[in-house]
């Protein structure tokens, strides 16, 4: 059986036996999804790539402590999520606002954006990208996280339920409501 056909469980088993190629295949399998998820979480694609790399390294280091009661995907996303949250907490402490003074002596915050760091910067339709970002940012936090896990992390409803330790019915219900909000917000593109 090739690595491409192997389940996550099988690859983890091989990795625990010291097979680096098996773990590398897990890296290939999940890197885009984890990067997309982290990109939305931290709002910076380059930082998301760094956090993604760190997540895989931590997963490898702790693989022998991985609880097989859970899926590898949810475990990996939890590592990435925790790293992302930790980073946001640290960044909040270090943030320095940039201001300039207007003619009346008041302060105007400078709006500095780096398009190369936009997690949706690869979208061909910039207008759609901006609207999608706005629509996702406008979601209630409890919906937003589920949308990120579902559509950026590409996790199944069952995996999300496991990740959030939430009943499957609740996940379905919340995602349905989140989709309703998104459909309305993106009506012009649907």
């Amino acid at each position: 059986m090739s690595f491409s056909d192997a389940t996550d469980e099988h690859l983890v088993r091989l990795a625990l036996d010291g097979d680096e190629d098996a773990f590398s295949h897990l890296v290939t399998r999940y890197q885009r999804r984890l990067t997309a998820f982290l990109g939305q979480l931290v709002g910076d694609i380059e930082l998301a790539r760094e956090l993604c790399q760190e997540s895989f390294i931590r997963a490898w280091s702790a693989l022998d402590r991985f609880n097989p009661k859970y899926r590898f995907s949810t475990w990996l996303f939890r590592i990435g999520h925790n790293l992302g949250i930790d980073h946001l907490r640290r960044r909040r402490l270090k943030t320095v606002a940039l201001y300039r003074t207007d003619r009346d002596g008041g302060e105007i915050e400078l709006d500095i954006e780096d398009a190369t760091k936009d997690p949706l910067g690869h979208f061909e339709n910039a207008e759609l990208s901006a609207s999608l970002k706005q629509a996702i940012d406008g979601l209630r936090p409890e919906y937003r996280e589920l949308v990120l896990l579902r559509h950026f992390g590409c996790l199944s409803y069952q995996e999300i339920a496991e990740f959030k330790d939430m009943p499957l019915g609740t996940v379905k219900n919340k995602l349905f409501r989140a989709h309703t909000v998104l459909r309305n917000a993106l009506a012009a593109f649907l």
Partner: protein
């Protein structure tokens, strides 16, 4: 049983607007319900948008992770040997302190070691067989049974810790049957 629009729409949201999972009865409802039809179309369109959110793969990531994996493995090997080194050190120190090694007690040797003693000690330690043989003979003669037992326990603990540390990395956890 009556079919609710919300139940069907929830299913459609999960399936990305795909109606293949619906029962015949639900599909019939869908054909007659413009609201559910609209939701199905909206979900399909939303699915197309989300299909493009994944960024390009990072070509260097795998290499960087592999490199980190190797350094982690090297570090673990060193850490795994620490208990053995520690237990050997403790055993030797015990033997030296109690006069088990030739040349009297450690306290008596301290002034000598300060000059050229370190060199001779290093030479002695480099010959492990001789040192251990001497220590074994000395412990029999000098150490009390309690101290001998304690030294043995410390050494065994060191060996056990090494085995645990090295095996842990390769251990395969019992796996559940995934659904």
């Amino acid at each position: 049983m009556a079919i609710s629009c919300e139940a069907i729409q929830t299913q459609l949201a999960e399936a990305g607007g795909d109606t293949g999972q619906l029962t015949d009865e639900e599909r019939l409802h869908l054909e007659r319900c413009p609201e559910c039809c609209e939701v199905a179309a909206g979900e399909r369109a939303l699915g197309l948008i989300f299909a493009n959110v994944l960024p390009a793969a990072d070509p260097g990531l795998e290499l960087r992770v592999r490199s980190a994996m190797r350094s982690t493995r090297r570090r673990r090997r060193v850490i795994a040997l620490l208990p053995v080194a520690a237990s050997l050190f403790v055993a030797l120190l015990g033997a030296v302190l109690l006069g088990g090694l030739p040349g009297g007690s450690l306290l008596a040797l301290l002034p000598v070691w300060s000059s050229q003693g370190w060199v001779s000690l290093a030479a002695t330690l480099s010959d492990w067989t001789a040192a251990l043989r001497t220590a074994a003979g000395a412990t029999e003669a000098v150490l009390s049974p309690a101290m001998l037992g304690l030294t043995l326990v410390v050494s065994l603990l060191g060996v056990a810790a090494t085995v645990v540390a090295t095996r842990r990395w390769r251990r395969i956890s019992p796996w559940r049957d995934t659904d």
